[in-house]
């Protein structure tokens, strides 16, 4: 982990009255830095926060947005909850799989994209909703998938 990442974790610790509250944000810093939360990355977070590595691993494995295995440079989340289902998310997901050549839960061999299904993204007014990294895409149609993905190198 770089010095900048360690400094950021120390800054995060200062936001809370109890050190462990900084764990979730610190895990995001480590994940951003290392690409995923490998055992080594979890160990570094544990050391920086002075927590048992078992506790850090237990917490990291609970939440859906922490990746314990290497993920792609870009993570695509396709919402498949009810409102998106009623607006054709299955066709969007199908087109995603075709274009990327992978199934949900997998990463492209070139490491560019990971594809995942998501529970409600809280954007049902924009169904079907797709989240790529931090960008929300609204009312996605199957034909939008390819040009959309092209924007992520």
């Amino acid at each position: 982990m770089t010095q900048a990442a360690r400094d950021e974790i120390r800054r995060l610790i200062g936001l809370y009255e109890h050190r462990q509250s900084a764990l979730l944000p610190a895990l995001f810093v480590a994940q951003q830095e290392e690409g995923c939360l490998s055992p080594a990355a979890l160990g570094l977070v544990a050391e920086t926060l002075d927590l048992p590595v078992t506790e850090v691993t237990s917490v990291a494995s609970f939440y859906g947005l922490f990746f314990l295995e290497p993920a792609g440079r870009h993570v695509v989340h396709v919402c498949t909850n009810l409102s998106c289902m009623l607006n054709g998310c299955q066709r969007v997901l199908g087109r995603m799989q075709e274009v990327l050549g992978i199934r949900p839960g997998e990463t492209t061999p070139d490491g560019r994209f990971s594809l995942r299904t998501a529970e409600c993204l809280g954007a049902c007014d924009e169904a079907p909703s797709v989240l790529i990294d931090e960008d929300r895409w609204a009312a996605v149609k199957p034909e939008d998938v390819e040009p959309m993905l092209d924007r992520y190198g």
Binding site: L24, Y63, L82, M85, L86, E119, A123, D125
Partner: protein
């Protein structure tokens, strides 16, 4: 059967829909931060609580608990208390909190300040779900602007009050929306619900008295203080409804509490898209029991919906049409609960997994006639036995679907058996 007109005066969405409300200058020009200034400098805690009580405000996160009563549970004395804002909006079909923050982040900052000075908290944490990236950026910028203006930090508005606000993000867990699970998550642990009592008002964050309040609930506070409780109440009182699914104009609508479900769907949301037929609607997210065509005139308020056997919840209306059968709808809902169950209690962890498996089997054409009784018995075993509302919200909808749409289950089972022969 009549469809009521849109609310004559929008008092909440007006802020979220106006241009430039992410900028403090614009927000202040429109009267923003005046209510928080008054709460911090002119009003006593009792006066604020009295106004909120008179407004009849009830929590907008799902449980609908009277807000002023919750505030009264917080001990007056005690050096350390917290406000925790529940922005983990995860109930499928709900997007009003996101709409409010993205449209007018200062409204939430102001509401948070009012709550904090009233209960005497020097620190507020806003727990926002991780997926709300845009909302997070806007909120952080708004807090920085408010700090610059002297509204956040030490001696806000020149008063004796100090209020720090920290934005904290979740990491993808629906259960973190349950208030005690949220506190666990904010303390850096797995988001698993705590035993209650003690309630957060007595022992919440770091075991200190904590007021946990939904985003929309807090956004009502500046409006209530500036309009006064009487005018506020005369507007319905106003409430936000997220409407989505098979409708022409999905979106967040402000309407009086108690508007009919029919008016929301066929008035505000523009009815069904061409060629699609109404089948059912969830009035309060998928955790509520769905309603059918016969129930369309039900009033969208806590008491009326409870009488109709369901709940207002987060006021998220999901309209289902005949493009899906109820087996698919329920299978999707139960799969969601299975994946989001925290695993703490056995009835929820195992019950959701078993039911999901049986529904999957029926969908794949391998269902058996006795599966329906099996689902009913697992649902009965989960009823009243789960540790928190997540597991408890599975059986009612499922059982209702078996009662009202049994034919759809039987048809799938019969088709499967016919193929197998």
């Amino acid at each position: 059967m009549t469809i009521e007109a849109a609310v004559p005066e929008s008092v909440l969405l007006r802020w979220a829909r106006a241009e430039g409300m992410a900028q403090i200058e614009q927000y202040r020009r429109a009267g923003g931060y005046d209510a928080a200034r008054r709460a911090a400098t002119e009003m006593t805690a009792d006066q604020v609580i009295e106004i909120v009580a008179a407004s009849g405000l009830r929590g907008k996160g799902g449980a609908g608990f009277p807000t002023a009563q919750k505030w009264k549970f917080i001990p007056r004395a005690g050096p350390v208390k917290y406000v925790v804002v529940n922005g983990d909006e995860g109930e499928p079909g709900t997007f009003k909190d996101r709409t409010l923050i993205e449209g007018c982040p200062h409204l939430l900052v102001e509401g948070t300040l009012i709550a904090a000075v009233t209960i005497g908290a020097r620190r507020a944490y806003i727990y926002l779900r991780r997926e709300y990236h845009r909302a997070r950026r806007l909120l952080e910028a708004a807090i920085a602007q408010a700090r610059q203006a002297g509204f956040v930090g030490e001696r806000i508005f020149g008063s004796e009050h100090t209020v720090e606000i920290v934005v904290h993000t979740g990491a993808g867990a629906y259960i973190a929306g349950e208030e005690t699970a949220l506190l666990e998550s904010l303390e850096g642990r797995r988001a698993m619900p705590r035993q209650r009592p003690p309630f957060p008002a007595q022992a919440g964050l770091y075991q200190r008295p904590t007021l946990v309040q939904n985003v929309e609930t807090l956004c009502h506070l500046p409006v209530i203080i500036s309009l006064g409780p009487d005018r506020y109440k005369a507007l319905g009182p106003p409430a936000l409804f997220s409407v989505s699914g098979a409708v022409n104009r999905p979106g967040v609508y402000e309407a009086p509490l108690g508007i009919s479900l029919r008016s929301l769907i066929f008035g505000h949301a523009g009815g069904m898209p061409p060629g699609r037929r109404f089948k059912a609607a969830f009035p309060g997210g998928i955790s509520s029991v769905f309603l059918t065509e016969a129930d369309l005139d039900v009033k969208m308020d806590h008491d009326s919906l409870r009488q109709a056997g369901t709940m207002l919840g987060s006021a998220a209306v999901i309209v289902v049409d005949d493009s899906l059968d109820m087996v698919e709808v329920m299978a999707r809902a139960v799969e969601f609960y299975r994946d989001e169950s925290c695993g703490k209690c056995t009835p929820c962890r195992e019950g959701t997994a078993w039911i999901a498996q049986v529904l999957e089997r029926i969908l794949c054409g391998r269902g058996r006639v006795e599966d329906l009784a099996l689902i009913e018995s697992i649902a009965a075993g989960m009823t009243g036995t789960c540790f928190c509302p997540l597991g408890e919200s599975v059986p009612p909808g499922l059982v209702a679907s078996l009662r009202l749409f049994r034919g759809e289950y039987e048809r799938r089972i019969a088709q499967g058996e016919a193929r197998a022969v």
